[in-house]
């Protein structure tokens, strides 16, 4: 996977990906359905004038672009960390059930919510993610091994999936069911700056927890005994990675719905460039995730396909072939 000759120094790759992510964020602000004089919009917004241009910028373009960056970074970073923790290139942030539970939390708000404000839905998702994290640790225990964690995640995913299906089954009318299904497909459309303010702090704390786990993930490369002998407590390492993923990805799903494959594909692609050391893969995967989600979101708006494709659908359609490729490589290596 990573010959030395192909290893790009981290100090070059991270700035390059960061610049690409920021450039795509700017490009995302510049792209939209309504024609917009950006200079006028920025001037008006800066001066605090409530012109239509300023409103389009502040209420539509900016939240969409910033959330694209934040969600992509969360998914990429958590994916890389989860692969490191489980020592498996096929792991992704959803494997421990937190994404499924966040989606269920939001669906329940859809279902039972009567007096919805714009933040009720993401708050329901965040509550779902938090509850799933508690259940995960209660089920698996603090000293849980990898297999127990994955099994607990499978159980949580199965429950969240069936409860979501039940909610759809019992939907009062087809329109309500359709609304839930569309939300589940994941999208950055029609989010506001309030969503950004809700998500950003939680995600940032999650990122810090995940980045702090880097040395422990490196040590885990040589197995649990060697990692412990190098001074790392596996129970703490799992706590950091899972809590960090829950904060970052749980919030991402709560705000935008399920955007699949980013956490799986991005670390896999970058591993060829930075080498396989899990700690070195975290930051590049964060910016890489931002690049992938922003690029996909720009693509859905510029493709001309109407109604607009859901972001989660696009990332999955692009991501699935990579999964085939990954399995193909693994199989070839085993034979």
């Amino acid at each position: 996977m990573s010959g030395a000759s192909r290893t790009v120094p981290e100090r070059l790759l991270v700035p390059a990906l960061a610049v690409a992510a920021l450039a795509l964020t700017a490009a995302s602000v510049g792209i939209g359905y309504a024609p917009l004089d950006l200079t006028a919009a920025i001037t008006d917004a800066w001066a605090g004038r409530n012109t239509p241009e300023a409103l389009v910028l502040l209420e539509l373009r900016l939240p969409r672009a910033i959330l694209g960056l934040l969600v992509g970074m969360s998914l990429g970073l958590a994916g890389a960390a989860m692969q490191g923790l489980l020592r498996n290139p096929l792991a992704e942030p959803g494997i421990v059930g937190i994404s499924g539970a966040a989606a269920l939390g939001a669906v329940l708000v859809f279902y039972f919510g009567t007096n919805l404000t714009q933040l009720t839905l993401p708050l329901g998702g965040i509550a779902g993610a938090a509850l799933a994290t508690i259940v995960l640790f209660a089920l698996a225990g603090r000293g849980a091994g990898t297999t127990t964690l994955i099994l607990a995640g499978v159980a949580i995913n199965a429950f969240a999936g069936s409860a979501t299906a039940l909610a759809l089954n019992l939907a009062p009318n087809p329109y309500a069911a359709l609304e839930v299904v569309f939300w589940l497909m994941g999208s950055l459309a029609d989010r506001s700056l309030a969503h950004v303010w809700l998500a950003a702090p939680l995600m940032a704390i999650g990122w810090l927890a995940l980045l702090a786990a880097a040395p422990g993930l490196d040590a885990l490369t040589l197995g649990e005994d060697t990692a412990t002998s190098l001074g790392f407590r596996l129970s703490s390492l799992r706590l950091w990675v899972i809590t960090g993923s829950a904060l970052a990805v749980g919030t991402a799903v709560a705000v935008t719905g399920a955007i699949g494959f980013v956490g799986l594909v991005v670390p896999h692609l970058l591993r060829r460039l930075v080498g396989s050391r899990p700690g070195a893969l975290l930051l590049p995967s964060a910016f890489g995730g931002g690049v992938m989600v922003l690029a996909a979101d720009i693509a859905v708006r510029t493709s001309g396909i109407r109604p607009e494709l859901k972001l989660g659908v696009v990332t999955s359609i692009v991501g699935a072939p990579f999964l085939f490729h990954l399995i193909w490589r693994l199989r070839r290596r085993m034979t």
């Binding site: 030395a4 490369t221 040589l222 002998s229 190098l230 001074g231 899990p278």
Partner: protein, 269 residues
Amino acid sequence: MSGLEARGLALGHGGRTMLAGVDLRLASGEMVGILGPNGAGKTTLLRALAGLAPPMAGSLALDGTPFARIADRDRARAIAYLAQGAEVNWEMTARAVVALGRLPHRGHPKSRDDETAVAEALRQADVPHLADRSCATLSGGERARVLLARALAVRGRFLLADEPVAALDPLLQLRTMELLGSIARAGSGVAVVLHDLSLAARFCDRIVLLAGGRALADAPPAVALGDAPVAEAFGIDVIRHLHDGETFVIPRRPRAPPIARSSDDRPSP
């Protein structure tokens, strides 16, 4: 009290007793061989000494300080541990793997020495030429040497190695034992789990002979690998051959009647 010391160590797993009251002291500058039949508790003892398995009873101390009062990172800097097998989960280069041995030193004033330590460890283990190869492309023996270099890169005052010669050809077995001996002579305390009686007799200052979770002997090789303890521990007769002042101990035949072995070692029908 300097050294790494276990007293009355007892450990179990799943209701089975793995160690029952074992004492062991590893001083700086000595090389101790841990021998015994499969399932005797050698790996369990080594893991306990490395701080990987908390004992059910007994005490573990580093220079007189109980393990419980030593920070994980301080323990990790003092005690290097080389696990059995050759687990490398990602396709990292040999150099990147060896550099993992420096993790306990991160943020420490001496961390500037990291590159020197890695280069020296690669050289000691005789693998500088493999430094930029991916571990996935190495042979079993090459990988074992790279992982030994990883443990050396810790530069711990104690080195605990679990079957470091298991995957090696005869030349590399000798080279590895010489290397471990030289590390001990340079002042580190080295404990090594071995199956080869001759290598143990020739290279170790002291042998701890385990059987059924107990220490049958803790003595210089000439005593610990005598006919009686070897027969009791392994159920074999040995041939002893003296050559150039060194003793070679060669397994000859099983003693009749065969001793009862633990159920784990019985071949499946």
